[in-house]
Amino acid sequence: MKYRLLYFASLADAAGRTEEAVVSDAGDPGALYAQLRERHGFRFDPARLRVAVNGALADWSQTLRDGDEVVFLPPVSGG
């Protein structure tokens, strides 16, 4: 399936891009992050991240569908 990834903050720095289209057999955010972590060398354990699918917070085990926008959120520092 094909997913659209957005990257922010240090994840964007590590990936060297702010977005990318990914073709993957990962069926949920947990599996997808494991693949992308290996590809881009992300330093965060998933326990320190949140994940959003199509603009809403989601579970790591939520079933992904073709075309979903997936965003891994590192710890925030607004305010």
């Binding site: 903050a9 720095d13 320190r48 590192p74």
Partner: protein, 155 residues
């Protein structure tokens, strides 16, 4: 206009404050977050805020709605800057009006705590020594794990 917004230009605090007016309100508490010239002992020159806008606005609105349900208040608003900011710039503004001051203080503090805890906005600090780094607080007392910025990670 919605009660929470990301904004790429300077915040007009006086104009925002007027949106809180209510004839039954006797108290108004505002919080302003300013860009400091230091963090964890390092001199800071400027910073950049980046946001995942769609989710940040959804989370921000949810926090303000929650505040109106949790506390006896009349109105609550929040604006957060994105982009480049200089020392002394107003980065985030929160305002609450209420009949009584206790609820106004409690709600204002709760809102800024929640904004900092869960709204997807990230700060990149640029230091006097030329380094920069995204701040990713780890929940410890130290407050933040710092990641070198893209300039450094290219080396």
């Amino acid at each position: 206009m919605s009660a929470f917004a990301l904004i790429g230009r300077p915040i007009d605090a006086a104009a925002e404050r007027r949106h809180l007016d209510h004839p039954a309100a006797g108290a108004c508490v505002t919080f302003e977050g300013w860009v400091r010239d230091h963090n964890e002992g390092r001199p800071v020159l400027r910073l950049d805020y980046q946001a995942y806008a769609a989710l940040a606005e959804r989370e921000g609105e949810a926090i303000l709605s929650d505040a109106c349900a949790r506390f006896p208040i009349r109105a609550a608003r929040c604006l957060h800057r994105v982009g480049r900011l200089e020392i002394g710039d107003l980065a985030v503004w929160v305002g609450v009006s209420a009949d009584h001051r206790g609820a106004a203080f409690d709600a204002c503090r709760w809102i800024i705590d929640e904004i900092k805890r869960r709204v997807p906005i990230w700060k990149n600090e640029h230091y006097a020594d030329g380094e920069s780094g995204w701040l990713h607080p780890d929940g410890s007392a130290a407050g933040a794990v710092q990641f070198p910025g893209s300039t450094l990670s290219a080396s």
